[in-house]
């Protein structure tokens, strides 16, 4: 399985990471991972959540030291005990959450920590602005002024400030952790322009992304990690998406997504011309009993917003929702719940689970009405409800009184799913149901979804993972900029057709630019 990662290095590596091992209490995050990056190369790092990508880049950027192994920059071993050591070695990292000072200007942010000094230690403001302008010019950025306050900039522009900050410190190795996760398509094309310029200047870019199409667009080589181990390093030209996916998940996709074909029943959810500005525009869709409808689209395309509008978190401004044929006006999650709508949210930790509370309390939270009489909770009924849930979903927990936040991501997700099913819903909206959980738990959740559909539940599944969408859905809807732009049946849908519909406007943006 393992190919030699150094076999096809285009030039002498500026960064070489050798046999890194790192363990955290209870888990081995990295076991003997090697990696390298050459001058002027974009090297993509790919892997599922928990594969060890973040641990690897945190070691390279000096956030924590490895247990074993070494990091070489320009052939010399470096000791990266602190982030500052990495900066000195010419390594800069741009994290998903940008680390900028929103109240300060572009120039001040770029030179924070290494401002040009004038006599008597005063800040040399002129030099700072001149240097900033020179940096802007070198990347041909003409729409960003040095004296703008960063807080007023778009995410894309803030990211550019971070890149400039890295360049101002003469970074030769730039690590970008999912840089496009929060960007609009237009900003993505501009980001890629800059990455190409950096490449031309000889900077080595380590690019982490879940989006395969981006890797094919921008990267020269790709390294795949799985379960903390190095799986393969390949030239992008020598591989394709199916190959990479298989390397990432380590098994055939088909075996992961066992959607059973079941008869499709009556419409459970009918949405017509639903509006909730700014991210839900004129949405119409139908989900029937026994059907799993996949909702695909880029981050920021309005999928979660649509789900939360249907669920009453952000009630609709306009349009019509029918549940089981009945016209309804959903104003709150409590109301949605009583109508038989369940929503398993995207962010388990902040929206789905009350982490400091026990497994029992989490299971009953959305179904308190079922275990309470006249407002008084029947402890026995509650324990039974939670106990049944633990059994049905095979939650691995030491007891019902275990603190839910201490369980693994997969088990937490099963609790969130279980607490909603305790209500016996008609419609289940799943938002990224398998994000950040391990492959085994993932397969189990997919199996459950299949079973639930077979029992006549209507399921609307939001997912950013194309293989999941392809494997599980009877029908696929694609959202872009708050609208549903395409619909595919199970037979006609392909990764490419979804991708094209998702991106649609990027090509337009390129044409416009």
């Amino acid at each position: 399985m393992t190919t030699d990662p150094h076999s096809e290095t285009p030039a002498a590596p500026v960064l070489l990471v050798r046999a890194i091992e790192k363990s955290f209490p209870g888990v081995r995050a990295l076991s003997g991972v090697s990696f390298d990056a050459a001058r002027g190369e974009v090297h993509a790092l790919l892997g599922e959540n928990g594969a060890g990508k973040s641990t690897l880049i945190k070691i390279v950027s000096g956030v924590f030291p490895p247990d074993r192994g070494e990091v070489l920059v320009d052939g010399r071993q470096v000791d990266l005990a602190r982030p500052d050591d990495a900066r000195r070695a010419g390594i800069a990292t741009i994290y998903q959450e940008l680390l900028l000072f929103p109240e300060l200007t572009v120039a001040e942010n770029i030179f924070m920590g290494h401002v040009p000094r004038a006599a008597l230690g005063r800040i040399d403001w002129r030099a700072m602005h001149e240097k900033t302008n020179a940096l802007l010019a070198s990347l041909e950025i003409h729409d960003l002024r040095a004296d703008r306050v960063v807080g007023s900039l778009s995410v894309g522009n803030r990211q550019r400030v971070e890149i400039l900050r890295a360049l101002s410190q003469d970074a030769r190795i730039l690590i970008m952790d999912e840089p496009t996760a929060a960007l609009t398509e237009y900003d993505v094309t501009r980001l890629f322009d800059i990455v190409r310029k950096l490449k031309a200047r000889g900077v080595a870019v380590i690019y982490i992304s879940h989006r395969l199409d981006e890797i094919f667009e921008i990267a020269d080589r790709v390294t795949v990690l799985r379960d903390g181990a190095h799986v393969a390093t390949k030239r992008v030209a020598d591989t394709d998406a199916a190959d990479l996916v298989q390397l990432m998940v380590g098994r055939r996709i088909e075996s992961l997504f066992p959607k059973i074909t079941v008869p499709i029943g009556q419409p459970v959810l009918e949405v017509k011309d639903l509006e909730r500005r700014p991210l839900t525009k004129n949405v119409s869709l139908t989900v029937c009993a026994g059907e799993i409808v996949g909702l695909s689209g880029l981050v920021g395309s309005g999928r979660s917003e649509l789900a939360q509008t249907i669920f009453g978190v952000t009630p609709a401004d306009n349009g019509e929702i029918r549940i089981a044929g009945q016209k309804v006006d959903i104003r709150s999650p409590a109301q949605a719940r009583s109508l038989g709508v369940a929503y398993v949210p995207e962010d388990r930790g902040t929206q789905g689970l009350v982490r400091p509370m026990t497994v029992r309390e989490n299971f009953s939270l959305a179904a308190l009405g079922k275990v309470a009489f006249g407002g008084f909770i029947d402890r026995g009924a509650e324990r039974k409800l939670a106990g049944d849930g633990v059994k049905r979903f095979a939650v691995k927990t030491s007891s019902l009184e275990q603190i839910a936040g201490k369980l693994s991501g997969g088990n937490q997700q099963k609790i969130v799913l279980g607490k909603w099913l305790a209500n016996g819903p008609k419609l289940l909206i799943l938002d990224e149901p398998t994000r950040g959980i391990d492959v085994g738990a993932k397969a189990e959740i997919h199996r459950l979804m299949g079973e639930l559909a077979a029992q006549g539940l209507a399921i609307l599944m939001i997912s950013s993972e194309l293989p999941e969408v392809l494997g599980m859905s009877d029908r696929v809807l694609v959202m872009r900029e708050g609208r549903i732009v395409a619909e595919f049946s199970r037979e006609e849908v392909t990764q490419e057709s979804i991708g094209a519909a998702m991106m649609g406007s990027r090509e337009n943006a390129e044409k416009a630019a």
Partner: protein, 330 residues
């Protein structure tokens, strides 16, 4: 990314002591017992039934407010306006009886309603306008006190009918009358918090408000209820206070908010929300009142008493956080 945070941690260290002994409330109760014995040994008048019952009488006004305050702090909120509501309500009681000429029972109802309305105003602004509770109730702390002073014009109202003093000064079955009120309120509050869906919602909101909302709990309604309840209980406390001291003045209840919060927090309720019990608050109340009294009887001066109480608060916080760490097995 999530690899680190979602590792199932190994089980907390083997338990050598039963869990309930490690609870903050239990520890506090033990400390309270020790303090009782020590102070009783220092002064023979301290550990007498008469004295203890009298202390119960004195702590009722703060205690009545501490119960809804426990609810509020469990949700992660705070209500600093309670002392001012006491003053406001006390003035309204006297004013509506003397100036409007309301019969006293009607004036009492009017006062309780006014207290509830004052709390409702806090709640409605906190839930609708999303003003942080700290800021809203600091504002109404000033507002309600200002109203009390404006209405009273620095005049006090005295000479209530004799029957009214029963609540504040007489005994019922050998126990101060207002203490019955407090005891009933404690039992009701404890049952509500421990046994009802409403109580469960309070913990859920305090631990994770977004998840509570997403689980279909009526978060805003629950908050509105507890702030209204807080105002109502402050109104009740005002009536008891006026009955006990036989007069109304606009500075009544000044500083109550701090006594109340001290008792609640001393009792183990987390100021960050999500954790707390009524039983803890009761022990906290008893602790503060008996320390004050015991030290005073032993001849410690007022200033020194406050120093001791401050020290006890700090120590109990230290014990609580070390217990917390121990529970989490860090």
């Amino acid at each position: 990314m999530s690899a680190m945070s979602e590792i199932p941690l190994p089980h907390p260290a083997k338990r050598v002591v039963p869990w309930w002994l490690l609870r903050h409330e239990t520890m506090l109760a033990v400390i309270l017992l020790i303090a009782l014995v020590v102070l009783g040994g220092l002064n023979s008048r301290f550990l007498t039934l008469d004295n203890l019952l009298n202390q119960g009488r004195l702590t009722t006004e703060v205690g009545l407010i501490a119960l809804p305050m426990t609810f509020i702090i469990i949700t992660g909120g705070i209500d600093l306006s309670v002392g001012s509501i006491v003053g406001f309500c006390a003035i309204l009681l006297g004013y509506s009886w003397k100036v409007f000429g309301f019969p006293l029972p009607l004036a009492i109802c009017f006062t309780l309603l006014a207290g509830a309305a004052a709390g409702f105003l806090n709640g409605i602004v906190i839930t609708r306008v999303k003003v942080p509770p700290l800021i809203m109730t600091i504002a109404t702390l000033a507002l309600y006190r200002g109203l009390a002073e404006g209405i009273s014009q620095a005049r006090s109202v005295r000479g209530y009918p004799e029957w009214f003093y029963f609540i504040g000064q007489e005994n019922l079955f050998g126990v101060p009358a207002q203490l019955w009120l407090l005891l009933i309120a404690i039992v009701v509050a404890a049952i509500v918090l421990d046994r009802t869906t409403f109580g469960r919602s309070l913990y859920a909101i305090g631990n994770n408000e977004t998840a509570a909302r997403f689980s279909g709990l009526p978060v805003d309604r629950v908050k509105l209820i507890i702030y209204t309840l807080s105002g109502f209980m402050a109104g009740l406390s005002a009536c008891v206070l006026v009955s006990r001291v036989t007069t109304t003045r606009s500075d009544m209840g000044m500083g109550y908010e701090l006594d109340v919060i001290a008792a609640v927090v001393l009792g183990g309720t987390s100021i960050f929300g999500g954790v707390g019990t009524i039983w803890g608050t009761v022990v906290g109340l008893a602790m503060i009142q008996l320390l004050k009294n015991g030290l005073a009887l032993t001849g410690v001066k007022g200033d020194a008493t406050i120093v001791v109480i401050g020290t006890v608060l700090i120590l109990s916080t230290l014990v609580a956080s070390s217990l917390q760490r121990r529970r989490e097995g860090v």
